[in-house]
Amino acid sequence: MKDLTQQILNGDIRSIARAISIVENNAPLKEPLLDELYPFCGKAMIWGITGAPGAGKSTLLDRIIAAEREQQRRVAVIAVDPTSPFTGGAILGDRLRMQRHALDSGVFIRSMASRGYLGGIAGATRDVIKVFDAAGYDLIIIETIGVGQSEVEVVSLADMILLVLVPGLGDEIQALKAGIMEIGDIFIINKKDREGAVKLKTEVEYVLRFKNESSAPPNPVIMTAATLNEGIAEVIAAAEQYFQYLTDSGQLEQRRRQRLRQEFYDIVLTKIQQVVENHYNLTQKVERLVELVVEHHEKPYALIEKHLNSILKEIEQR
């Protein structure tokens, strides 16, 4: 394993890919490997990019990669599709629009589907970030295909979030209402040549007025036309400036610490859950409780309380 760690630190593509699979498969090697890599983490800048399907995220991302490469930054992309059913298969087609970077050794793109990961797909993504970080990528970008609950969870693993909106999808207002505005740092109005783009920008700026504190710089709202490669430089400039602000103001540190805190909660709870499931055959027990409630009209809360106590007692005795 020391070997694998060393290969990853050297930036060996195959080893990085393998390590990600180890994370994805939750292989026994996962935990020691991540611990070995951990001291080498923390250098990368982590961006999240999200927006409704059809907003042009992948195309935009493709342009951002190109621009970052011009500055010699090594870029890793995690394209996450959390919508696939847990047990079924998945088609991961998001990298398609970034395929022209396939031959660039400074770009690594990895597609991930949800697989019923222990700890959710966010947990797995978090670990994949560590692999890329240790491997020396300067910029790690998490891309999600939509703006649902689990997407927000995944994208929130980033230091900074780019939210892509587009006029004419009919869902922009909904997005504003759904509270997704809360998570965005940089707002991108893509397809600016479309009707309604300016109006959308005004609306976004209006909503942001209520969000911004007076001391912070306002969240940038940038208009782009990704397919025409317009506005990309502005996005990069705004993102870098904002990142600088996050760093200088101590917010970056705060966010990272909050993430670590969340990670610990997640891991501890997941492990407890695992123990309970493994040792107490929870599935079967729950089945019996359901039966008691349905067939014998027992009271759910009282019932659970009783069983919970017995489980906790057993744990204590172990």
């Binding site: 399907p53 059809g54 195309t59 493709d62 088609i91 087609g93 398609l96 629009r97 022209r100 004419g168 479309r194 009707e195 397919t227 025409l228 490669n229």
Partner: protein, 557 residues
Amino acid sequence: MPKSTELIKKQQQWENSTLKKVLDRNPERKAEFTTGSWLPAERVALPRITTDEEYLNKLGFPGEYPFTRGVQATMYRGRFWTMRQYAGFGTAEESNSRYKYLLSQGQTGLSIAFDLPTQIGYDSDDARSLGEVGKVGVAIDTLKDMEILFDGIPLDKVSTSMTINAPAAILLAMYLAVAEKQGVSKGQLNGTIQNDILKEYIARGTYIFPPKPSLRLITNIFEYCSREVPKWNTISISGYHIREAGSTAIQEVAFTLADGIAYVQAALNAGLDLDSFADRLSFFFNAHNDLLEEVAKFRAARRMWAKIMKEKFGATNPKTMMLRFHTQTAGSTLTAQQPDNNIVRVTIQTLAAVFGGTQSLHTNSRDEALALPSEESVRIALRTQQIVAYESGVTNTVDPLAGSYYVEDLTDKIEAGVWQYLEQIEKLGGMVAAIETGFIQKEIQEAAYRYQQEIENGQRIVVGVNQFVIPEEPPSHLLKVDAELQRIQIAKLAKVKSERNQEAVKQKLAAIRQAALSPDQNLMPPILDAVREYATLGEICNVLRDVFGEYQESIVL
């Protein structure tokens, strides 16, 4: 149109007596009967057109609005469709001799197949061309290849169709330059370039530039040809490949007409006068297996285009309302198993095209699911057309299936389905937007998936594939392109490059760049200047790539 109430009553009586008795004894083979594209097929169709007024509105007379019955008054009583076999492979020399053979066999028009590097604007010596040179068509790098391709073929005597899209302007320019050398004036030239970029984004994949500059190239060609090459068909708006990608009949018509609308709109936006280009638009459809549905499809498409041109674009000249079309039999229906069965499939599809009133036809060869067609197979395919034309008798009357209750019913159903799609596409902001969001591709994929699933689970029978299977020997005598060919073609290209006037090439390429940068300029004249100096296809495309950028595939799986 409603059936008469009297008839409906009689039908119910029949259903309750005669039909019921039979069904009680012998249930039908299936619970539900549909066409190949899942339109409900009526057990017994009844007349729906009950008055003269309805007849005139929906069908009219051949050669008159709404052209349901055909675009010419006499159709095949006047002359047969153009029998045009798509051919081309290997080097220009080899293709040239295949064309001469086909013309000697009674073929009446040429149809040029280009290899993929040519279609995507790469020279034969480009790394990306590896393995592809001369494979699916002829390799053209410079005017030199085009001169060889048409050597000994008088361009004032043949009509030539070229399957070329993204770099259509360049290949057309080469054709014009060959004509010049033969002493044939542009006004005498007859032919078609496919020049239909939107369906490349949707289904065929040989795009280069993004939609906006691509549409500009297309309108440049419209404008140039209306002045200089008046008999040229400047575009062949193609549903063929949409259908090959697995669409339904309705989708084929809907997306093709939507493409047509987008081109007309683009030309009008560029300031062209409708009458200056609209009569040069032509179409290209697929002839699939469900004979009667296909006939209905062609008739519906014709009726709808006339209506669209008249009502949406305010056309007044009947010529601009006519949907003239080329047909190719459906390649995707050919099977590698028991390949001779394909001759029968092609015959049915040929009948569909002829009943549907096509202006020209390519019939596929039986061995195309295996490899490039052999000479013998191509001849059988051509003979199939000739037998239908000369022996079957179906050409003696115009639009022979008109008035078939079933065909008229299907024609109406297809039309209704197509209008629905057209409305939806308009809501999405037009065809370009609908393609960019992946809507069109998604719709086709769904149909393709369903079709294939039906074959997988045996719901749809393909003879020789999932039923009536026999053990087979691998076929012999297949035509293969020599692997050495790429090397030969590259050597030829190197020679042309070393013998041309380098300074002139540089200047002409610079002039193309200049023109590309100014949206108001027509790109045809500088491209023609450059090909005359033997600038390569790749060189010209690279200049345009540099200015226009490249399209990136957008699919939703």
